[in-house]
């Protein structure tokens, strides 16, 4: 029989402190009964002698030092899992909020997970066709990859994520073994509704599990939201061999919640007030993507974060970029020019694409073509800044061709319709078509046989 404690020592922000406590485990879940009958949950985040600090998921409003009864439950934070979770909506601690019954399952999993042994991992190689040219050609998404979208407030990242979900063709995935897990942390209600609607309209709603923590929900629950989502994803991928696409939005709200709790705990802050363990903490989320040798399933993770002030060097995008396998960067300038998707290709990158493209996966010219497009478009930037000073008319002939290439590249290659689904072949052909604006001497990253096979016919056109 576990003891109940009736006296709190201190209540501060999301934390309560209890003293004279025995037999409490670090990370243990706590049940807090307030005198009006409401039961809240908390988690032990620090033990100091007989003093215990507990963070309360629902917040401490209404709690005083002597109106509660606290029980330590003796187990870490777990969620029950079964295949019934598909099509359901939960809050940040895994309780249903769609009016349905709770998940009845004896299979419970610790939401904190444990690191995947690198020896047990399978290296991701199969490409996912998103139907979006800029991504498929230049920052190819690979099954089992973690590839975040770096965006800003008011940029079309929602639309892009929804389009990826509805168009993604994963090798080996059928309608039976494909699932989407959506974790929303601190998003606005209308953003959450947007995703629900878009899942409905693309007909995947039965395959979606949602964990929703809106902007006005508890920040402590926000910390556990992505962990619940990834625990569900691990269950579907590794127990049921499903291919799972996980969308987490918005990682910036998540990190801010972490900072808020850290400062309530009076921890020593590091960059911009974020706690020193922000990197370690983010990595325990992002590193849960991947594939295992012993399982057919996969977890592909697309976290979305809004860069504060569009600053890519801000700690959240910065630390994320050091953990994830590349990034898709959206650009406000392109967004304002009404180019959708507003992908800024130069800072974008997919680290795993080198092993997932080429003759065995997409087409033999893919590697050289993407390298050439990158290098040409990077040159366009230099020429644009020059032409702003001396005017386009005074540019050399080749420089003018580059400017033309840049315009076509943005308006025809990067830009596409919100439901336009281009096959990778169409994307690569389009790339050659636009590249043929430039003379052959500018193609310095291309093998001669590829030039003969693809460039010449486009040039003649």
């Amino acid at each position: 029989m576990k003891k109940e404690y009736l006296k709190l020592q201190k209540v501060e922000g999301p934390l309560v402190v209890l003293s004279n406590i025995k037999d409490v485990a670090y990370g243990e879940i706590v049940s807090i009964k307030v005198d009006d009958g409401e039961v809240r949950k908390g988690k032990v985040i620090k033990i100091d002698g007989d003093k215990v600090i507990v963070q309360v998921f629902e917040g401490t409003s209404g709690i005083s030092t002597d109106n509660t009864s606290v029980k330590f439950l003796g187990e870490p934070q777990t969620i029950p899992l079964s295949k019934e979770i598909l099509g359901r909506t939960f809050n940040g601690v895994g309780e249903p909020i769609d009016g349905g019954y709770g998940i009845l399952s004896s299979y419970k999993q610790n939401i904190n997970g444990r690191p995947i042994n690198p020896v047990a991992r399978r290296y991701p190689r199969n490409f996912i066709q998103t139907g979006i040219s800029a991504i498929d050609a230049l920052m190819t998404l690979i099954r089992g990859q973690k590839l975040p979208i770096f965006s800003g407030n008011g940029i079309a990242h929602k639309e892009l994520a929804a389009q990826i979900i509805s168009q993604a063709k994963i090798e080996g995935a059928t309608s039976d073994n494909f699932a989407v897990v959506f974790g929303a942390m601190g998003v606005r209600h209308d953003d959450a509704d947007y995703f629900i609607k878009s899942f409905e309209s693309s007909g995947v709603l039965d395959h979606v599990v949602m964990y929703i923590n809106t902007a006005d929900d508890s920040i402590v629950e926000r910390i556990s939201t992505p962990r619940c989502a990834l625990t569900a994803a691990e269950y579907l991928a590794f127990k049921h061999n499903m291919h799972v696409l996980v969308i987490l939005m918005d990682m910036t709200s998540y990190a801010e919640a972490l900072r808020e709790i850290s400062s309530a705990k009076e921890e020593v802050p590091s960059r911009k007030g974020y706690p020193g363990y922000l990197y370690s903490d983010l990595s325990t989320i992002y590193e849960r993507a991947g594939m295992l040798k012993e399982s057919e399933g996969s977890i592909t993770l697309i976290p979305i974060l809004t860069m504060p002030n569009d600053d890519i060097t801000h700690p959240i995008p910065d630390l994320t970029g050091f953990i994830t396998e590349g990034q898709i960067v959206l650009n406000r300038g392109l967004n304002q020019k009404s180019i959708y998707p507003p992908i800024d290709v130069l800072p974008s990158l997919s680290r795993l694409m080198k092993d997932g493209i080429g003759a065995d996966y997409t087409r033999e010219d893919h590697g050289d073509l993407q390298s050439q497009l990158f290098s040409a478009y990077s040159k366009v930037q230099d020429i644009r800044s020059l032409s702003q000073i001396i005017g386009e008319d005074d540019l050399g002939e080749i420089d003018r061709l580059y400017l033309k290439f840049g315009r076509e590249f943005e308006n025809k290659f990067i830009a596409q319709g919100r439901t336009e689904n281009r096959s990778v072949k169409e994307t690569l052909d389009l790339g050659w078509y636009i590249l043929s604006i430039l003379p052959e001497t500018e193609l310095d990253r291309m093998k001669t046989e590829l030039i003969n096979k693809y460039y010449v016919k486009n040039r003649e056109r």
Binding site: G27, P115, G276, S280, E287, D318, E325, L386
Partner: protein, 587 residues
């Protein structure tokens, strides 16, 4: 007497225990019912602070802390090469046998395989006098590495007994030595505390390059065996690819690759790729000279701090056998952040950007374990440290990069702008530096060509000039430059595209011999001199640029295989011919 402490405070990886006055700093302890592995970091009166190398979730106050009586150590013996270990030298493949896909806590301290039988050749004889560092047995650990079993430090004496050569396990006694009244049983393995550098006889001056097959390094910013190299770069600038290239192709005997707080998939990539790759010098699989230490970013943070020490201790062990070892630490920033994280949990007074004040001394201690030395048994050997740095926000003025700069001799700065233009390796050819150029000048003169360094200096000067001209070009455009300056731009373009850019995925380009590097430089120089003489005759730059030979020069890195370097001599001949024809036309 067994000593037991009592857990009183738990804060993530930091645990405080009381009743621990008799414990020692840096002692290894096991914590709680799960026997989590930890290390004592400080003691005050009766209270000790412990950092735990495993997840502490579920640990309770009043659980016991057990002493092991020894500092945190690694086991040194055969079976290290080709292995993949976590930050505290536990083999990941053995962990996989215990728990299939994920790494649990409480599995105890595992190390080298104690059951495996090795073919041991005993070379010591009864009556020999042995001292620390002397070799008494050898084992062919892999087809390219002969493992030498050495007398542990602080032990010496006369051999009383030896076993015959044959099959033994690592804990079998093979030699007994006596010294006065005491005898020592020598097995095939020994333990060493990771934070203590292994002893050497003396440090020697650095005099040989570490050849990497990467042009921008070998020819422009050469690094040396026994040297220290910092490799800073923001994310996406290609630090890991560069580290992988160095691990694959540099001419060290042994590579220790420490993945410190990096991505799980990258370690898996190395595990899948290296066994299939062949070392160009020995013809053996690269894995037969490689040791991997993987502490991925989501593993416990205290083990991340330990991983760097574990790596350098393994490196020192093989150095003591007489090998040239190169250690790649990817990334030292994650290690520094682990120090910061633990320091924060200890509530220490932070210095710059929250890092502890002892960050510079820890970095210095680490880099100073590199060096070109004479070992205790009289052989020349070396450890080269190549430390990747991940500056926050790509800003090189942050504390880890700044302090690293003070302790490394070569600094290969990865540049975001080059990476965005897909100029790889994105090592900045102007802001990087190497203090080894002057030291290695003689070596290059004797072993490559007498004018190698001069050529290199000339090329760097051209690139510097281009940088200055670019400022003008950005204001007024390229067309208004006089012809000789336009030629500098064109030559710089050729140096960058034809020489500095190197494709890690291209079979001919991923590794380039020094001879080919020299010849390529020679060809570019020959082009420049030819073109310059044309310009002096008044031939317009546009005509010079439209010669076909330029395309050939740009593609020589792909078109000329490493084993057919005579094709490069043809290029010199062809360049001379084309520009001679041009000159004749204008005369």
């Amino acid at each position: 007497m067994t000593k037991e402490g009592i857990v009183k405070l738990i804060n993530g990886p930091v645990v405080k225990g009381i009743n621990m006055g008799s414990f020692k700093v840096n002692e290894m302890v096991t914590v709680g019912k799960q026997k989590l592995i930890g290390e004592v970091v400080s003691i005050e009166g009766d209270t000790a602070i412990i950092q735990v190398f495993e997840e502490t979730e579920g640990l309770q106050s009043d659980e016991l802390i057990y002493s092991t009586g020894m500092p945190f150590s690694v086991t040194l013996g055969p079976g290290i090469i080709g292995g993949i270990f976590d930050g505290i030298q536990r083999p990941l493949d053995k962990i996989q046998l215990i728990n299939k896909d994920f790494i649990p806590e409480g599995i105890g301290l595992l190390s080298l395989d104690e059951e495996k039988e090795w073919d041991v050749i005993i070379i010591a004889k009864v009556g020999d006098n042995l001292k620390a560092g002397d070799v008494y047995a050898t084992i062919q650990e892999t087809s390219s590495i002969l493992h030498k079993i050495m007398v542990p430090y602080n032990i010496s004496g006369k051999i009383k007994e030896v076993k015959q050569s044959g099959k033994y396990k690592i804990n079998d006694t093979v030699v007994v030595i006596e010294n006065g009244n005491s005898t020592h049983n020598l097995t095939l393995c020994t333990k060493w505390p990771v934070k203590k550098p292994r002893p050497i006889r003396q440090r020697l001056p650095i005099n040989k390059p570490l050849i990497t097959g990467q042009r921008v390094i070998d020819s422009f910013y050469p690094i040396a065996k026994g040297g220290t190299i910092g490799l800073p770069g923001g994310f996406g600038t290609g630090k890991t690819v560069t580290q992988h290239q160095l691990a694959k192709w540099s001419d060290a005997d042994i590579i220790v690759y420490v993945g410190c707080g990096e991505r799980g998939n990258e370690m898996t990539d190395v595990l899948e790729e290296f066994p299939a790759l062949i070392d160009p010098r020995t013809g053996k699989p690269l894995m037969e000279r490689t040791i991997l230490i993987a502490n991925t970013s989501n593993m416990p943070v205290a083990a991340r701090e330990a991983s760097i020490y574990t790596g350098i201790t393994l490196a020192e062990y093989y150095r003591d056998m007489g090998y040239d070892v190169a250690l790649m630490a990817d990334s030292t920033s994650r290690w520094a952040e682990a120090l910061r994280e633990i320091s924060g949990r200890l509530e220490e007074m932070p210095a710059e950007e929250g890092y502890p004040a002892y960050l510079p001394s820890r970095l210095a201690e680490f880099y100073e374990r590199a060096g070109y030395v004479k070992t205790l048994n009289g052989q020349e050997a070396s450890i080269t440290i190549i430390g990747a740095v991940s500056p926050a926000g790509g800003d090189f003025s942050e504390p880890v990069t700044e302090n690293t700069k003070r302790f490394v001799t070569a600094f290969l700065a990865l540049d975001k702008k080059l990476a965005y233009a897909r100029h790889f390796p994105a090592i900045n050819y102007l802001t990087s530096y190497s203090g080894y150029i002057s030291i290695l000048e003689d070596w290059f003169r004797e072993n490559v060509a007498s004018d190698m360094i001069d050529l290199r200096n000339k090329m760097v000067k051209l690139l510097q000039e281009e940088e200055k001209l670019n400022e003008i070009v950005q204001l007024v455009g390229e067309d208004v430059l006089p012809n000789d300056q336009a030629l500098v731009l064109e030559t710089a373009r050729i140096i960058k595209k034809g020489f500095l850019q190197q494709n890690a995925l291209h079979p001919e380009d991923t590794y380039v011999s020094l001879e080919k590097q020299y010849k390529m430089l020679k060809i570019i120089d020959n082009f420049y001199e030819n073109a310059l003489s044309c310009i002096k005759m008044g031939i317009p730059i546009s005509t010079i640029k439209s010669q076909n030979i330029i395309q050939d020069i740009l593609k020589m890195k792909y078109d000329v295989p490493n084993e057919k370097l005579e094709l490069l001599d043809d290029l010199i001949y062809k360049t001379n011919e084309e520009y001679n024809n041009l000159r004749q036309k204008y005369e």
